[in-house]
């Protein structure tokens, strides 16, 4: 059958196939389809940069235009991965610089990027268009200057949540006057003090970018500059403001309000650092068009938040601090019937006593009032099984549910029982659940529920839960779609891990820190499973300086066709015997 179509026809057909899964399926049909597909694949996503090497990627896909890479494990966001662990993008960029001169897009998450790497990117790829650095680190504003200066056709520069060292200077002026191609600029993670030269460079850049649709600024951009910027970019679809505070002045307010009403295409708002509530009404004119609102940096009382939110009837996504309180969430549930995603962050997570009235009631109200709700991230201090039953019953369509009860091992505050049954109801009713984070007092029973019902679950995060190996066994043996499992401070040991060794090859990765996995078990797993990289992270010194039965601090296990990595720091040990022998 394959021979009845010339290659060009097949290639043309394949060009309509975008999803990675479908492309992978296509490549498995037969040898000639594999060959045709690999030459015309333009985009690749590598979820773990250590699962494969640049050489293997280049050998199979010689004509890529877009590469996405992820480095450190998710728990790195919470400081659980020590500095120097790895995730360096430099070897990738070096190899791609030679192999993919036509590369257009590079998207990195949790990787270490140096200024030299950025300079290499800016000089190796003549047609470079998109750079997204999500939660990356290791570079400074000098690196950004190279990108600005050398990437003639840059469309997107997005530094979301990266840790950038600000060396002063004014890298924004490095964008040549001839650069007019910008569509998206996100510098919200940059410092909060900027020279006037940087500010005026930003104004000029915005002024000469007619295609600019997404602009997220940093705290340093003062409110009185915002109106001018908006007037230069009236077609903005997404805006992240700078500081939203200023001395109250009617002129500033009316100027700002006027500028906002000129931006009729605005659909997403964020920023609002240091917000002065009296200025919030300046955005009222565009509220009805908003689909996304990120107020998670706005330390503002519930009543002010409610006045704003109740004007946004088309809101689909809301990120907010717990200042919104239960009352504010009830108002949200009344007004925003299109809400799909809610994230409530803690304003003071380390306070001993709650500083706001945000309880399970708020989330229950939203689950009752918002029929399209599918994604939840909720930090609070108390919960009940009943509330979880209600949420599960109201919203069987939930796909992502992350509940963080701030104090570990907190039981149902009314019955004092574990929250096993409540989370059990969630996994039983929400059959499309793909992501789940647990908290509160939990025994092995909750894992039994999860293993039995959570068949579509892809990512599970567990902390301070369970009684023993049985819990982990339920999850590993029952969750058929599991790709990422991250566990901390649970009494899970060797038995479940070793009994489910084969399962680990079907997953992207498993992280276990402060659990009871022994060094002996890690070694055994590493020896028996050559396609798994078993890495022990332990800052107490070599694991063999302690008895083998001693639990390791952290074990990070991931499937890989690249073999053990060679860039490990002193506190990471691979369980690959051959490598250990070679290096000794």
């Amino acid at each position: 059958m394959a021979h009845s179509f010339p290659e060009e026809v097949l290639e043309h057909v394949f060009s309509f196939i975008d999803s990675d899964k479908d492309r992978n399926a296509v490549s498995l049909v037969c040898k000639s389809w594999y060959e045709i597909e690999r030459w015309c694949r333009r985009k690749i996503f590598i979820g773990n940069c250590y699962a494969v090497t640049p050489r293997i990627m280049i050998r199979r896909f010689p004509e890529l235009r877009s590469v996405s890479l992820k480095g450190k494990p998710h728990f790195a966001d919470f400081d659980l991965v020590p500095e120097g662990w790895g995730g360096y993008v430099d070897p990738w960029v070096s190899a791609m610089g030679r192999a993919y001169p036509l590369l257009e897009e590079l998207r990195l998450k949790r990787m270490v990027v140096s200024d030299d790497t950025l300079e290499m990117v800016s000089k190796s790829f003549k047609n470079f268009k998109v750079l997204v650095l999500s939660s990356c680190e290791g570079f400074t504003t000098d690196g950004l200057a190279s990108i600005a200066a050398n990437c003639r056709n840059l469309r997107e520069l997005d530094l979301r949540e990266s840790d950038v060292e600000d060396l002063g200077g004014n890298w924004l002026s490095c964008f040549p006057e001839s650069c007019t191609s910008l569509v998206s600029l996100n510098i919200s993670c940059l410092g909060s003090e900027w020279s006037l030269r940087n500010l005026s460079a930003l104004e000029r850049l915005v002024g000469r970018s007619p295609n600019l649709r997404r602009l997220r600024m940093n705290r340093a951009v003062p409110l009185d500059k915002l109106a001018n910027l908006l007037r230069r970019a009236p077609y903005l679809v997404e805006l992240g403001t700078g500081a939203f505070s200023s001395e109250l002045h009617p002129d500033v307010f009316s100027n700002l309000s006027g500028a906002f009403s000129g931006c009729k295409e605005l659909r997403a708002l964020s920023g609002f650092w240091d917000v002065v509530p009296a200025y919030l009404p300046a955005v009222y004119t565009i509220c009805s068009g908003l689909t996304s609102l990120n107020l998670s940096y706005a330390a503002v009382q519930s009543s002010d938040l409610v006045k704003l939110i109740t004007q946004c009837q088309n809101l689909q996504r809301l990120w907010v601090l717990d200042y919104i309180e239960d009352s504010g969430l009830e108002a949200l549930a009344e007004s925003c019937k299109n809400l799909q995603e809610l994230r409530v962050f803690p304003s003071d997570p380390f306070a001993a006593e709650p500083n706001v009235t945000l309880t399970e009631q708020g989330l229950v109200a939203v689950s009752e009032g918002c029929p399209k709700l599918e994604s939840v991230l909720y930090f609070c201090r108390q919960f009940t099984n009943d509330a979880l039953f209600t949420i599960a019953k109201n919203r069987p369509s939930l796909t992502r549910f992350r509940l963080c009860i701030i104090e570990p091992r907190t039981p149902d505050y009314i019955t004092l029982e574990p929250l096993d049954a409540g989370f059990g109801a969630i996994v039983q009713n929400c059959k499309e659940l793909r992501r789940l984070s647990l908290s509160g007092l939990l025994t092995d029973r909750v894992f039994e529920h999860i293993g039995t019902h959570a068949k579509k679950l892809e990512m599970l995060s567990i902390a301070f839960a369970g009684d023993g190996d049985l819990g982990l066994h339920h999850v590993l043996s029952g969750c058929e779609s599991l790709r990422k499992l991250e566990i901390r401070d649970c009494p899970f040991g060797d038995k479940a891990l070793l009994a489910n060794a084969a399962k680990l090859e079907t997953m992207r990765s498993l992280w276990m820190s402060s659990c009871s996995v022994s060094f002996e078990a890690c070694k055994l797993l590493g020896q028996k499973m050559p396609r798994l990289n078993v890495e022990v992270i332990d800052e107490r010194g070599p694991p063999d300086s302690r008895p083998e039965s001693c639990p390791v601090n952290t074990v990070y296990i991931y499937r890989s066709i690249a073999g053990p990595r060679l860039d490990m720091p002193a506190f990471v040990w691979t369980m690959d015997e051959e490598l250990a022998l070679r290096l000794s």
Binding site: F345, F379, L470
Partner: protein, 157 residues
């Protein structure tokens, strides 16, 4: 499949070796469990002192200080801290690690001096502050312009 059935399966099948390896068995399991219990419960007798200390400490520590909990991104944490606290880095010559303290937690120079003494296990700063004329040393600091200033001149607020 009933829970009991699965449980029974696990007890017989899970062991320290992979399927096929029959040398390790019940004995190893029990031994391993005991060692872990020892580490958690036993104060003095421990073969893994580092870990045991950590378990003890985790219990004793103020819960707010558990690393990485609650799971708020370090990016977001920095912003919360910015608003609520004033952390500064302190280094002492000869000490291997730098320390950080929250200036907002202290109400005056003498308290700050006490905190320094506690952190670096040294003495004399407080006395020098109190009784400047009689002491051998005077506490001074370098301000953001690079000048050396006498501690206490600038009001605490």
């Amino acid at each position: 499949m009933s829970t009991r059935g699965v449980e029974a399966e696990i007890i017989t099948e899970l062991r320290l070796g992979l399927p096929g390896n029959s040398s390790s068995g019940e004995k190893n399991e029990k031994k391993k469990k005991r060692v872990f219990d020892e580490m958690v419960n036993d104060e003095g007798n421990s073969s893994c002192s580092g870990n045991e200390r950590k378990n003890e400490n985790t219990e004793k520590m103020n819960k707010a200080q558990v690393v990485g909990w609650p799971p708020v991104c370090s990016y977001r944490k920095k912003l919360i801290q910015r608003d609520n606290t004033m952390y500064v880095k302190i280094s002492m010559d000869g000490a291997p690690f730098l320390r950080k303290i929250d200036l907002g937690n202290h109400k005056g120079y003498p308290e700050l001096a006490l905190a320094f003494e506690k952190l670096f296990d040294c003495h004399g700063i407080r006395e020098a502050l109190k009784d400047a004329d009689n002491s051998e040393y005077i506490p001074i600091y370098e301000d953001k312009d690079g000048d050396w200033m006498l501690v206490g001149d600038v009001p605490w607020e």
